[in-house]
Every structure is written in structure tokens, then in C-alpha cells.
Amino acid sequence: MAQRVSGCPSGVRAAMTAMVASYLVLLSHLAAASSAEGLPSSPNALEKLIVTEFPGASACVLLLHTKGQSGCRGTAEKVPLMYYSDRVRQNGGAGGDVVLVVEEENLPEFLANLASNGSSLAKSVKGGLIVRGKGGKGRPSSFSPADVFPHKNFAPYTDGGYEWNPSGLGLLRTGRAWPPLYVLTEEESEAFREMAEWNRAKGYRYPQYVADLTTEMLAADQANTFECLDKSTCLPIGGYSVASSLPPPTPASASGAAAVDDECVLVLAQVGDSNVFHGLNKGAESSISGMVAAAAAYEAVARSFKDRGVAPSRRLAFALVGSEGYGLSGSRRLVHDLGNASHAIAGCRLSQVSFVVEVGPVGLAAPNKGGAREYYLHWTPGAREANQSIYSAFEEAADDSEGRAVLRTPVGTPGIPPSSLMSFSNHSNIRGLVFADFERRVKNPYLSSYMDDGENYDVSSVYIAAELVAGALVKVAFDGDDAGQRIDRELLNSTVVGLSDCLLTSKPGMQCDLVQRVADSYLTRASLYPGIVSYEAADDQNPNDKTDLVRFLWGYLATRAAGLADLSDVGGAPPCDYPSGKLKCPLAGQVCARWRSQESGSKSKNGRCVAANVQYAPAWSHHLTYTVGKDGYGKWGVNGTAGAILDEIWTESYWPPYTPTALVYMKEGFAYELGLFLAGSALTVCWFYAMGRASRHIAKELKQT
């Protein structure tokens, strides 16, 4: 047997060569363009490849109002994904449980379908993931969850059938909430589309991508605000308005209060709208456009007053009203509080208010044939005739704009459009106007939706509106005694552009200079959601429980009130500890405003004393009561019943930690998994048996030899 292996026999060598050759051929045939993505290098990397999370997605959470629920609640576990368009094609929507992948252009149709009674789709849909196109592409022509006549219940006229917002779907104040819905960011959408395409390519059969959606809400079982506040599973949506009047008080004379009874003109603007998707609350056209125009006008008017040097005959009280998307909560609270004769907003009592100017949506005024932008003045009944001076002030301001703006009076409308001004309708002696970019129908195709963002906003339109409003307000304040002063257009322009950048972008967002100088904020994207109010603070002027945006607006109004030629001069004002501390402002009529000076180091104090009549005003319903029990715990309640209260009193449900979350991963079908398990078990059992037999056989052989 020694020669058996004297060398590899030629046959074996030939076989080996053939094997190597065929292996190389095989490899070259199969090697296609390989990817840069390698095999996962560790269990963590593998897990990231398998499970996709969506940290940037915005969820829809559960809100409640006096007459029902709104928003989303529920969980979905291991539910397969399917495109909405494909689902509707099969059986008109009926079928097994599914999480729908909805392209933005199908979103209005999808939500309307979900909300309609007896929809076959609604029964089987366990959730929805909304994907976005790049740069706002792929949006539907309109998407407005608001009513066709928003705030109809508060209108001062009876024509409730008028369609201010014809594309409105009426989905904000629903009865029952929806299954979990998430809006993905643009980057997440790109990657996610590949997963949905995989499912579609596989014909929606396993192995396919499934989703785990968790939107567990503690108030899911309560039907409305009354029940959930009673069971302490929710908290009221709060928010604050910020108000300031011009000209600011001269510190020495404030204690003397010389001009206590001077006439006030109230200037209103809404801060933020409501939104089905919690984190995307903006309302660029519906609220921010008017707010930016009003705030920029405030600065320009303050500068104009300072330059003029003489106090005007009418005071202007600016109020940036919060929580207006939640049943005009802020303005209704404001009007209710003013009903108390001694209560004043920015130093103006209700008896002093002779007129209200509201700066409504002004971001979509398109140029007409002559290149001028058209703005409309919506007057309350008889207001225009009774206040000719105000009308002429606006007309003159439009003339001053050198053809950039033209003013019109709307024709064919039943009265004022949905606005904060509606809250004043109980006080028929208060007259007012709403300054807006639309006549008979709201120009905004995305009212009260997340699509009302920077893409739906024209900065030039806002600037021209701000110019017009500022010019008109100066004339109104001096009641026609115009010394021919001009509004500082450059300042106005830079403020409008700056505020728009801060509030509508994520870069620089709230980290912009304008915000950071007068407020502390770590946010990038501005959040206009008013937030909940957890307890009734003893001092509602304390900035600690206010949102970043509201604190910024307060600081902005405080520092611009004096109309300084160079804002940096605020740094030269007497220092103080903000918000409170040892060093206070010595004179009455001064407030301590946050000021971030250019000089670094702890030597400079963080606030400066500025003369301003600026204040915070709560924006939640006066029907809400906060009582502290014997155990020291406080509880919110509502003073009144559903039938008697007109206020909508919105609340937000509590939710557990790690909620809401969305996860997507691929799963095999149950048949495959069971088969795999049985095959593996069978394989193992066979091997154990075979090895046992082999072992016994070897032992037997050993015994034989």
C-alpha cells in the first residue's frame, strides 16, 4: 500500500485543475458590478440595516375638545406596508390589516376616506406613513383639514354656508381619532420609498416590509375634554399672547400715569395655526405672514415715533395672539379678560379701544397686471363709514408705496373673514378691519396643514404689506397730523426677511441673530405649537414656562419699543438680572429684557432695562379652572357644560415614554418561519441520531479488531 500515495496521480491532478478552472469561470460569470456596501461588520451594523427608525418623522397625537377627539391613537404591530393607491385599486380598499404608504398628492383623499363613515378602507387601516417629495414637489394642489368656513361658530353673521375655504375637508374637529399617522422627512422618505417599492415588486406577499407603530395615548378611552380632565389623562393646550403698546411709557412719568384715558387702537396678529401633525405646526401663510408684517411694522412705527419726538394722539397696542388655531382660544380669552373694566392689555383698557386692526394672511398677494400687489380691507359693518380717517390713512399709505401696493374693498362677502376680530363680535361698539391678501376666498390652499410652510409664502408680499401697515398705523396714530415722515424701508425689509428666515427655515432657524440676541433658545426649527399648561402659575409674567417663540416675541417687542436708531444701543442701557434676581430695574415703566451682548464673559449682566409696556397674556379659555387638592396635587377642570360653552377647550392626551415611534423592518411569512424551524429541528435531530449511530458503530468496530 506504500505506493498508493506516491504522488498525486495524473487523474487527480487533472480533476483538480478542472475544478479550479471552472471555479474561476463561475466566479467571473457571477461577478457583476458590486456595490460599495459591504457585509455588515458587527451586530449593531446589521441591526441598523434590518430595522429602520424614523427619528425625524412627525407624529399625529391625540387631542381632545369639548365635543370629541381629534388626531391619532393606537398601535400597530408587524402590519404589512402597502401603497395607498394600490390598496384602493384592489376591492376599493377592503382587505386584511395594512399600514398605508401615502404619497403627499393622495393625502387629502386618504384622510377624507379615513374619516368618512362606513368606509371599507377605514376598518382595515392600522396606520399611515406619509412620504414627501424633494423640495415640496409632489404636493397636492390643495390640502386643508380646516373647515370650509373655519371658526363658523364664532362668526358675527348668520351666513354659515359661505365658503371662505372651499378646499376645506373639515377634519380638525372630528368625533373619533384616527389610527397612527406619521409624516416622514424628505430624507427619510427617499430611503423609505425603496422599501415600499420592494413590497410592491413582491406583490405584497412575504417576505415584505412591515411596520411597528406606537401611538399609545392615555386618553384614548375618553370621549372629550370634560372626561379626560376629570380622569387626569390630559392637560389643556395653553399658550400665551404677547402684547406691547407704542409709544413706550417714559419711565419718570409712568407712575404719574398722565395720559390714562387716551384712545387706543388695537393691532392684532395671529401666532401659529393648528395642525394634525404635532411637530409641524407653522401656518406660514395663515399666521406667520401676518405676524411678521405686524412685528416689522411695530419696529418701524416705534422708530418713526422716536424720530418725530412728539407723542401721538392715539396709542397703538400690538397684541400677537397665541393659540388661535384652537378655536380662537387666545383672542376669546383676551376679549373675556378685557370685559373686566379694570383689566388692561399693554396699558389699554377696553373702554379706551376705539378700533381694531388685524393683520391677517398677507403672504400670497400676487402682482396684478400693473405689477402692484392687491390687499383687501375687510371692515366690520359700518366701520368704514364711521372711521373715515382710518380708511384715508390706509389709502395714503398705499399711495406712498409708489405703485407697489393697491388697496381694495371686498365685494360679495358676508362680512369679516375668519380671524381674531371675530372674537370681538360681542362688543358691537368695537369696530375693526382685517387686512389680508384675499377677497372672497382664502388664497391659502394649505390652510391648517403642514404644507403651509416656507414654500407657501412670498417674502415680497409680506414686506409690501408690512410697509403699507406701518405707514397707515403711523398716520392713524397721529390722526392725520402727518409731518410727512417716512417709514424706514431698509429696516423694515431686513426685519421682514430676518424674521421669515428665523421662523420658517431650519438653518439658521431659531439660531439666527435676530432671535439669539433677545432670547435663549436651543431650537433650530421654530416651534409654533403653544404647548400644554400644566399648572396655573402664580405670576404669569415669569418667562420660565413660556415657549421659546413666545419669549422671543416678548424680547423683540421690549427691545424695539424705544425705536432706537441702532439696536446695539440697548447694550448701553442699565443692566439687570433676567428674568429675576438681585439687580432689578429701578424705574417704573421699565422691564428687564434679555440681552446677549457682544462682549463675552460673566461680567456683563444678561438683561437690560428697557422702557416698554410689554406683557404676556394667557391664551387658554377662562372656563378652565385649576384647583389644588388636599394632597397638594392640582387638577384642571371646566367651569360649565358642553351645551353651555362655546369655547372649544382643546386638551392634549398624556402618552407613555418612547411614544410615538415608528419602526419598519422586513419579515418572512409564518409558513416560511415555521418551515425553517421544523427543518432546522429535523436536521439537528437527524445529526444527533446519525452521530450516535456512528459512535456506536466505531466502538463496535474497535471491539472487533
Binding site: M1, A2, R4, V5, S6, G7, C8, Y23, L26, L27, L30, A31, A32, S34, S35, A36, E37, G38, L39, P40, P43, L46, E47, L49, I50, V51, K78, P207, V210, Y665, M666, K667, E668, F670, E673, L674, L676, F677, L678, A679, G680, S681, L683, T684, W687, F688, A690, M691, G692, A694, S695, I698, E701, L702, T705
Partner: protein, 256 residues
């Protein structure tokens, strides 16, 4: 249902190895000890290799990612093969020492098959090291969901490919070490054995077997290669079992 899938993949990848381990290694405490020591040794070897490659990863260039994926695997293979003669010699010395002790205590000497079993233990330890580092640590993730590598293998789940590959590698490594004990021994044995040239060539047999398994795993990097590699792995297991059966039969009959 994630549990069923995870258990299934583990059974496919680690079930047959467990059978071998249980039947031939666990039954003898000494072999078990040797096997576990071997596992620790080979884990250390593989980890040391990984550390070197991770520290060199800063040298990655865009176009060379293909080569860089393959190089660490080749280095694992090369290190293990270069260490094989050393492992053989050390094991021989250890078993010789054990035998002297046994004889001193008037116990019977080790039979040929018992010696082979010790080497099987070493090889199985090597297989366990591979399983732990390349399969068992990731198969737990199959509980969360499945994964198909879209570019190279959309036909089979990653975990299934890994399971079959691991099972085959275990078998190959275990048997390769057994083969080592035979072919390396025969090169040193007396004139009744083969000529030195044939002996040297035969020393490469374990290396060739290991190389075959590694080359099959390279097929996974090609588009659709995973199907081919899984089939080849299954065939390789069959071939290894057949070779093992023949070897054991020859040894039991006292034939070289």
C-alpha cells in the same frame, strides 16, 4: 414570530455542529477541556487579526473596497494555516505527556482513535470560534427581522446563507484538524509510510480543504452567488462526512 425564525436559523447553523460536539467531545472530559482551550485560542487569533485590520481601515480608498473586503478573510485563512503545524506539534507534546502520566499511573495507553478524537476536539474548538465570531453573534438579530442584501443576494435571506456557511465551515475545520493528525504524523513516521514528497503534498490537504471552504464563501460576494455557495457548502459537508467515515474506517482497521 421572530423567535421561530431565530431558533430556526440557529438550529440550521449550530445544530449539526452541536451533534458532533455532544457525541464525540462532551463525552470525554479531557477532550472537552482541550476543545474549549482550542476555542479560546482560535478566538484570540481571529480577534488579533481583526484588530490589525480595523486599525488599518483608515487606508480605505473608494475604489479598493472590494479588495479590502476580501483581504481580512484571506488573512484569517493564512494565519490559521500558518499556525496549524505549531498546533499539531503542541498537541502531540501534550498528548505524549498525558500518555506518560497515564502509563505512570498504570492506565492503558491512548488508542489511535482516541488520539484522533483529541484532534477532532481541537478542530471543533476552531469551528466553535468561527461560529461564535461570524454567526452566533449576528443570528440573534434575526429576531428583529430578516435581511436580504439587495445587491448581492436578493434571493436568499442573509441569515440562511450565514447559517449554512457556518455549519459547513465547522465541519471542514473539525475534519481538517483530524486530517492534520494523520498526514502530519505520517510525514514523520517510519519507512512503511509514503515517500517524503508524497507526504509533503499530503500535508497540504487540510489547507486545501479549508481553502475550498473559504473560496466558496467568496462566491457570496458575487451577484446571485449565494445560491451557488449554499449548494456547494451542503455538498462540501457531505464530502467531509464521507471522507471522515473512510478515514475512521481505515484507522479502525489499522490501515494507513
Amino acid at each position: 414570530m421572530g423567535f421561530l425564525a431565530c431558533a430556526g436559523y440557529t438550529l440550521v447553523g449550530a445544530g449539526p455542529p452541536a451533534a458532533i460536539f455532544y457525541e464525540f467531545i462532551v463525552s470525554s472530559p479531557f477532550v472537552l477541556l482541550v476543545s474549549l482551550a482550542s476555542a479560546f485560542f482560535w478566538v484570540t487569533v481571529l480577534l488579533a487579526n481583526s484588530v490589525v485590520w480595523r486599525s488599518l481601515s483608515w487606508m480605505t480608498h473608494q475604489g479598493q473596497t472590494e479588495a479590502l473586503r476580501v483581504l481580512p478573510l484571506i488573512s484569517f485563512f493564512a494565519t490559521e494555516e500558518l499556525l496549524r503545524p505549531m498546533v499539531f506539534r503542541q498537541t502531540k507534546r501534550a498528548t505524549a505527556a498525558l500518555e506518560r502520566r497515564a502509563v505512570a499511573l498504570r492506565h492503558p495507553r491512548l488508542t489511535k482513535l482516541e488520539r484522533v478524537r483529541i484532534f477532532l476536539g481541537i478542530g471543533a474548538g476552531q469551528g466553535v470560534a468561527h461560529s461564535c465570531l461570524f454567526f452566533l453573534n449576528t443570528v440573534v438579530t434575526s429576531y428583529r427581522g430578516t435581511y436580504y442584501n439587495q445587491d448581492t443576494c436578493p434571493q436568499m435571506p442573509y441569515f440562511l446563507v450565514a447559517a449554512i456557511s457556518t455549519c459547513a465551515m465547522f465541519m471542514v475545520l473539525s475534519f481538517a484538524m483530524v486530517l492534520t493528525s494523520v498526514v502530519f504524523e505520517s510525514a514523520q513516521a517510519g519507512p512503511t509510510m509514503s515517500t517524503s514528497r508524497g507526504g509533503d503534498l499530503r500535508k497540504l490537504l487540510p489547507c486545501a480543504l479549508h481553502a475550498a471552504a473559504v473560496l466558496i464563501s467568496f462566491l457570496n460576494m458575487a451577484k446571485g452567488g449565494c445560491l451557488v455557495s449554499s449548494v456547494l457548502n451542503a455538498l462540501l459537508v457531505g464530502a467531509v462526512v464521507w471522507m471522515a467515515a473512510r478515514l475512521v474506517r481505515d484507522l479502525a482497521r489499522g490501515v494507513q
